[in-house]
Symmetry: C2
Subunit: 337 residues, 2 copies
Amino acid sequence: MTRARGITIKDVARRAGVSITAVSHALNDKGTLSAATREHIRTVADEMGYEADALARGLRRSTMGAIGLVLRSLDALGDYAPAGVDVFERFVGAAASQALARGLSLMLVPDLTRAPVPPLAFSLDGYIVTNPHVDDPVIARLEERGIPYVTYGRPPGRPDFTHWASEDDEDSARLVLNHLATAGARSVALVRGTDPNAWNLEHQEIYLGWCEERGSTPRLYELPERAGVEGGVALADRILDEGLPDAVFCLTGRHAAGVQRGLMARGVRVPAQTMVVAGSDSEHARNSRPAISALELNPVDSSAALLDILQSLIAGRPADAPRLTRARFRPRASTRR
Amino acid sequence: MTRARGITIKDVARRAGVSITAVSHALNDKGTLSAATREHIRTVADEMGYEADALARGLRRSTMGAIGLVLRSLDALGDYAPAGVDVFERFVGAAASQALARGLSLMLVPDLTRAPVPPLAFSLDGYIVTNPHVDDPVIARLEERGIPYVTYGRPPGRPDFTHWASEDDEDSARLVLNHLATAGARSVALVRGTDPNAWNLEHQEIYLGWCEERGSTPRLYELPERAGVEGGVALADRILDEGLPDAVFCLTGRHAAGVQRGLMARGVRVPAQTMVVAGSDSEHARNSRPAISALELNPVDSSAALLDILQSLIAGRPADAPRLTRARFRPRASTRR
DNA sequence: CTAGAAAGGTAAAACGTTTTATGCAATGCT
DNA sequence: AGCATTGCATAAAACGTTTTACCTTTCTAG
């Protein structure tokens, strides 16, 4: 498997009649070459279609032109190809799109804490980590190596860390809760996941705060992300047994779809008796009957913001961070009264 | 930006009291070291948490543990983050999943033919290219560099090339067409994309063959992939003006959704007067009213097959290829009579 | 007792860059 | 005239591996 390598700097140097140092300097705007030589070398290099080898370049501590993406949340889901889970699928696409538009390649990297670590993992210029946990070991590894990173969703328990971007959870959660209140809901139950990430933790905070403000008793349920729709169906029984709330706010679309199905299977009419709403849109939410109102997250803006920050970090510039993006609320039949 | 490198082979050698050659040999099962030394070195390396630097290793023409993914079809769509286009979104996820499960990282690489080429692009171990075109320049570049690759969908016009995997188009297209015939359709129109990939070309062949067998006059329409739903709406007018067929088979879900909407806007009743079916499922197909029957492609099995083949190629073993996977037909309201 | 092989190990070259240190003219200044 | 400065270019070191070639010992056979 000895690979046909491309044109090397040596080839260019020979053809241009200069040293390899001259070539390197000409192409990287370093050194003290005369404008004429520089130009000449560039022309020759172009003609020959020279492209510096990334590996050799990387070895000398330059930049690789590639960043890593760790989908922390997928580890939680236990499935790297979950059908219909909008955020992750779309986030990969959006992040790739943003990266490619900036001339960066995007590498999907599995859990960095499990051996064997993917070979290139620690050679990348930087990382995007989605939905980090409390004390996330992936982040610990990156810091240990001094690799710049940004997170999609703030890392919980790290008030000092600012290099993150996310939808404005406070804003959007209140949008949802107030929407429910306006529609006449007095008691609202929250169904969150068990993954200890900012998404789950912050929504819980906001929810509890909102309940307190309104003097209503919080009803909080935790359901593992990977339980999916079936888990939601099962949870519906419990919710029902403990007394039907006016509305159920599920943070994931799958849970929402399951809860609604479970409730309806027991004869509950949605939205007449109880409303259901999802904190992140997904195909399950859209395709349920009645269709479930949901927050549509904003992976495009978020990933753009993340790449802005990450590029600043890599360049050693101060970063404009954190950055908040706006989710859109999609009211649907499940909350229409 | 001088990065904190990890433990190097030199550190291990010093600690183990041997030469760096010894370390390299011990860890790679080369050379003529005694079993004892080998074991000792391994122990020391493990203790220190040594991981060979991928760049340095790659420089010596070894393997990188990473493969590239070129989403040819997205170039055609002109958008790297098309919402609701199942195959591509899900294929990325599925391919990533498969790659990660085999300890390979997956790198999303933009069009290799446009400068600047992403730095690491030509250093990867191999490539998956989705839906290559006739005379695809991306493939030309890979061959020029001697980089192994496999394709999702066979490369058109290359009967000799076998390193591909795909759903069985012949099988599934006939499934669709016969389903329509059974439901009473005599005249069926085909709407294909303009991208010259196997998907479009083969379906056209199969369709024409099927028409000929049944003695029905083919009605073939071409619509650019990027025209999307709107393009389908517009095309509906033309189809209608040329006489309503009993069924319209659109190769993409977006086109199907558009065509159906356009027909219905002009008063055509679906499925009563005309049935609509999509050759690849997508959210648009599922969410149209009536819901559009569609083929659900199989990115999971396909990407698994592709990785099998690619790994064989990289290892220099003969590959079991090509490999066909099965799509599932999802009958929905748009063809229910 | 010695030539040759086998066993066990290492030094050094190579991979393709970037970076640092150095060299050599030509020019400017007293 | 002599010395510092400037302008331009290059040699060589370094990055962290793998691989090739070579060097000791020790063993075996004659």
